[in-house]
């Protein structure tokens, strides 16, 4: 059963093979593993347990009840307010990312049930320019929160982002302020916000909406932090511990509530939401 309603601007196919090859080499243990087994195993290496990236679509499939996802992603696309061009023009970068992912931008939002609990869920997609938050991602997050307020549902955000969309300059920085402001409205409406941080949740996303959850849950293997490891090493010439900005690091220093394995995330969210709302 498809998790998506028909939506002509999304070109997503859950059964599609990402590419022709049947086997992949795990970057962690080096083992050759059968791709279908990896997929069936929530994109976890069957040999060593390494977590591979999940696309937003795969993530939604993992978290929500089958057939329950009603996509409410607004039909908007990135503009190029600065006429930005680095090694290539920004619009070209966006078009390539759209082509690669089948998405309009780095996020999908929708209504869904999670083990019976109604929620509005927003899921970021790292494949799309590093999951970066520009005006489109900022707007979708705000729209998701407003949908949650209107429907009186909890809001769940799954972050997977390197931070702000640099090509949109100050417009992207200000999305931090925008999302934080809208988040306050959710609190005023008395609705819970569960922030799920995955690999990676960093920069402007970690320093705004993702850190403002009533409850913050990290997926095992997440990277959580503001400034990148390389920046700190280059700028400050500082030695950093091996577990720097890992899930364990964030947990030990009190930045998050819990660390949860990918396979148990749906049940975790359901258990948590059960304290706030009644299941349908």
């Amino acid at each position: 059963m498809p998790i998506f309603k028909e939506r002509d601007y999304l070109r997503v196919d859950l059964d599609r093979e990402p590419d022709e090859s049947l086997w992949m080499k795990c970057k962690s243990c080096g083992e050759l593993v059968f791709k279908r087994r990896v997929r069936e195993n929530n994109n976890i290496c069957p040999s060593c347990g390494e977590y591979f990236f999940l696309t937003s679509i795969e993530r939604i499939g993992l978290l929500v009840d089958e057939g329950s996802f009603e996509d409410v992603t607004r039909p908007i696309v990135a503009d190029d307010p600065l006429g930005f061009s680095d090694r290539k023009p920004y619009p070209e970068r966006v078009a390539e990312a759209q082509e690669k992912t089948g998405l309009a931008d780095a996020i999908l939002i929708g209504r869904a049930t999670i083990a019976g609990f109604q929620a509005v869920i927003a899921v970021m997609d790292f494949r799309f320019i590093g999951g970066s938050m520009g005006a489109v991602v900022g707007e979708q997050i705000c729209f998701a929160i407003e949908t949650a307020i209107e429907d009186r549902r909890p809001f769940v955000l799954v972050s997977s982002s390197g931070g702000a969309r640099l090509q949109e300059g100050l417009f992207s920085l200000l999305q931090m302020a925008k999302t934080a402001a809208v988040r306050v409205r959710l609190a005023e409406a008395g609705l819970p916000f569960v922030s799920v941080m995955t690999y990676p949740t960093s920069g402007g996303v970690q320093a705004s909406i993702a850190s403002l959850g009533d409850v913050i849950i990290a997926e095992r293997g997440a990277l959580i932090g503001f400034a990148g490891r390389r920046v700190i090493q280059n700028v400050m010439a500082q030695e950093l511990p091996e577990d720097f900005q890992s899930d364990a690091f964030a947990f030990q220093h009190g930045a998050i509530d819990r660390v949860v394995g990918r396979e148990g995330m749906r049940e975790e969210l359901a258990a948590l939401l059960g304290f706030f709302v009644e299941a349908q």
């Binding site: 100050l170 402001a181 402007g204 705004s208 500082q238």
Partner: protein, 319 residues
């Protein structure tokens, strides 16, 4: 800006002649006038058409006035408050009660150091989590008593280091944004020098956002953008131009409300004039906001930020 040295030398020369003119009774006024005309021409030539990269250099100029300079010149009787009540007192971010235009205000600013010694203490104006938590505490205090908040932004960014991450710098910045978005008193933010990324925005969510003419405000430093986007650290001038980080660009883009003029050559060339211009602007903006009901104020601020960002209606055109 290697020509800046020529200007400095010329200025020194004129000063020397003036001194001689006054003490030795030799009439050098013609020579002085001639040199002053020359100086002004050079200044206009050098500063009237600054590139964006040159403005970045000016925003970081070692002689540029810092937050405490403005606090002393613009505000009356600054009463500094210290500490975040949890961990320590971050010297990269100063906060305190002050007077402005006949009102008590809370002023919060990022403070760079003048000397190596002072920079050790002030971390080059890069606040740590305890700095942002102090800022938030100061804002809450202001809200309890109805004091407007003025923030002076001047930071390369939040302090990027192990201790910052351990104390959750991202969470501290997020919390500041959350607090400011609902604060029931007027907030005016001014970028006086460097507005570096999230560390700057953390005290920049405001009802009015101003920039000094040669200040910059950007999502990423041009140097880092050159490395990340151009894969070439020499391309920072291109990055500076592409980022639209100057006051004029950001004003045109509608992202800030006003530009406070600086004398030719930068704020440090005539600090008194710059401070006076800033004071006028701050008082005018405070007056605009003074009579707005708190609920209306918060609602307007909300609408401002809810609407920020440009995108197009439509769907991707897949090839």
């Amino acid at each position: 800006m290697s020509d800046e040295r020529t200007l400095d030398l010329l200025e020194a020369k004129i000063e020397e002649l003036r001194h001689l003119n006054a003490t030795d009774g030799i009439d050098l006024s013609k020579e002085i006038d001639r040199l002053e005309v020359k100086l002004e021409e050079l200044r206009v030539e050098l500063y009237a058409n600054l590139s964006d990269w040159e403005r970045v250099r000016l925003a970081r100029h070692p002689k540029r006035p810092y937050a405490l300079d403005y606090i002393e010149a613009v505000f009356g009787c600054f009463y500094e408050l210290h500490g975040d009540r949890m961990e320590g007192d971050d010297r990269a971010l100063v906060a305190g009660l002050a007077r402005l235009g006949g009102r008590t205000v809370m002023v919060i600013g990022q403070q760079k150091g003048r000397s190596t010694e002072e920079n050790k203490e002030r971390f080059f104006g890069m606040p740590r989590p305890q700095g942002y938590r102090k800022a938030e505490r100061a804002m809450r205090l202001a809200e309890r008593f109805g004091f407007p908040v003025v923030t002076l932004i001047d930071t390369p960014g939040a302090y990027p280091g192990l201790e910052s991450e351990e104390a959750n710098i991202g969470g501290a910045i997020a919390q500041c944004l959350s607090t400011m978005s609902g604060l029931r008193v007027p907030i005016v933010a001014v970028v006086i020098g460097e507005g570096g990324s999230g560390g700057a925005l953390a005290i920049g969510l405001a009802d009015r956002v101003l920039m000094l003419e040669n200040a910059i405000y950007t999502v990423i430093s041009p140097e880092s953008a050159a490395v990340i986007l151009w894969k070439d650290k020499e391309r920072m001038k291109d990055a500076a131009a592409a980022l639209n980080l100057t006051a004029d660009h950001l004003h045109e883009l509608g992202l800030i409300d006003g530009v406070v003029p600086e004398p030719l050559g930068g704020a440090h060339k005539d600090f008194e004039r710059t401070a006076a211009a800033l004071e006028d602007e701050l008082v005018a903006r405070m007056n605009e906001l003074a009579d707005v009901e708190p609920a209306e104020l918060v609602e307007r601020r909300y609408r401002r930020y809810r609407g920020v960002g440009r995108y197009r209606d439509g769907v991707p055109e897949f090839g």
